[in-house]
């Protein structure tokens, strides 16, 4: 269980300080699949980075299973059980997919086992396991490898930042299946996915709408989903969110 208590974050932009996260408090329960959505620039990735320890909040506390992790480094938070799949995965000259999976797994791993993680994200293991995680990989391939590293890590709390971005339709089905599997098989854990996709929102237990650095709506899927997909087009729903955020 992760608790966020009065988290705020600000950053300098053109010499002006901008409040990006505004006094957010929320609890992510165990065994819950939470989807965070909301307009671009709303602060979703920033919140995820605060959870992973990549950004430090200017005020507020983070509590993981009763332990205050606010002052913990990125490394210590990873060790405490937080996993984070980047919106824009990082490329490495020289490190291979296998190297990355080994690091993620955290203990010795058989190549065959590393391969199963790739197969799960729909990559043919033998074609990818020894590839360098460099600029020769396509955006979608990189994104899937990023997800595989989180599967290999198997964290208590997994945060995926727009995992579906750049992933083709066919693989999208597969992705949904991965999240459904994680959701059904795992107990005592929680998953947070940041997404704009209705089909991902659809498998959520809980939906949080983040706009302009604050929680605009929050509740069970059945309650929230009809409100934000009231209009057919994504543009429509965004406009609606924007308007509500400005109220």
């Amino acid at each position: 269980m992760l608790e966020l208590k009065n988290i705020s974050f600000a950053a300098e932009n053109d010499g002006k300080e901008k409040q990006i996260i505004k006094d957010i408090s929320l609890t992510i329960e165990n065994d819950k699949f939470t989807v965070i959505t909301g307009p671009n620039g709303g602060g979703k990735s920033t919140l995820a980075k605060i959870i992973a320890g990549i950004e430090k909040p200017i005020s507020g506390r983070l509590i993981l299973d009763g332990q205050d992790i606010t002052e913990l480094s990125i490394t210590d938070r990873a060790k405490a059980g937080i996993g984070f799949a980047f919106q824009q995965p990082v490329r490495f000259k020289g490190l291979t997919v296998l190297d990355l999976l080994k690091i993620a797994y955290g203990k010795p791993i058989k190549v065959a086992d590393a391969c199963t993680f790739l197969s799960e994200v729909g990559l043919c293991a033998k074609d990818y396991i020894n590839r360098e995680v460099n600029s020769s990989l396509s955006g979608g391939e990189l994104k899937r490898i990023e997800i595989a590293t989180i599967l290999a890590r198997d964290p208590k709390l997994a945060v995926f930042d727009e995992p579906e971005a750049g992933i083709d339709l066919w693989s999208f089905q597969n992705l949904i299946r991965i999240f459904e599997n994680m959701r059904n098989s795992v107990s005592g854990r929680s998953i947070i996915v940041i997404s704009h996709q209705e089909r991902i929102l659809n498998i959520a237990d809980e939906i949080i709408v983040l706009a302009d650095g604050a929680i605009l709506k929050r509740g069970a899927k059945d309650e929230i989903l009809p409100e934000i997909t009231g209009t057919d087009s994504a543009v429509g729903s965004c406009e609606m969110l924007d308007k509500e955020a400005r109220k």
Binding site: I74, V90, K93, G94, L100, I103, G106, R153
Partner: protein
Amino acid sequence: MSKVQLDEIQKRLIREVADLHDIPEGAYNFRANSSLAGRNTTANIDIKTKEDKPGIDIIIKEGTKNESVHIPVVLSQSGIKETVYNDFYVGDNADVLIVAGCGIDNCGTGDSEHDGIHRFFIGKGAKVKYVEKHYGSGDGTGKRILNPVTEVYMDEDSAMEMEMVQIKGVDSTERTTKAELKAGAKLVVHERLMTHGEQKALSIYDVALNGKGSSADVVSRSVARDNSYQKLDMCILGNDECSGHTECDSIIMDNGRILAVPSLEANSVDAMLVHEAAIGKIAGDQLTKLMTLGLTEQEAEEQIINGFLK
């Protein structure tokens, strides 16, 4: 054929520079503390001691296929200074692997220095893969110095792939590589360099693409840590229709310094020459990513550097 006589330190050095755990198959010449420690020749590959100066001639018969030559050098006594001349004559259409390398263990106070002058005369259509590793160890105050000179003369349609690695323990190095290519010849160089402590490394490449359709691809990846200094000087000359590419990709850490001096000279309108250079510290998001996978910052650095220099 003489039997190889090496002590434990020398065996360890050989393992570092030539990945050899045992006596290799094929031709070899082991040099330890300035004298011959073992040699083997084959029906196609002859090795002769030079009469006028220290060094050997390696003569590879025309058409020799799938054979290898290992010529490791080890220095385990402090205070040795030597210059060795090795000439390789690779016959037309031969296809061989040549593994050279020098390991210095200096536990004493005298400087140890090995300057290897290697010349390659590569025949028409011949293919050579050349691997050279340099390594230093020992905690004496004496310096470990290596100043290799490599000259490559490539005849028509020959191909040479060079892998040059110096990752650890060499205090001072000035490596010079010169190549002249005739028509259709192809040279590929991969250099890996890491310096630490107070080390200094100079690496100079001078490649002349003289023949039509010749090509060179020189790629250097280097890491300078602590207070070390590197100068990477890469020059390609295009004298005919040819293609040349050089790339310096460097990471600096601590107070490391790197000077990359690329130069291209085209003397033919059909010469296509490209240089790329990048120097910088390890990208912050790479460290961040590995830290989110549970590594400490230092462990993340090691992984990134090891991968980069692999």
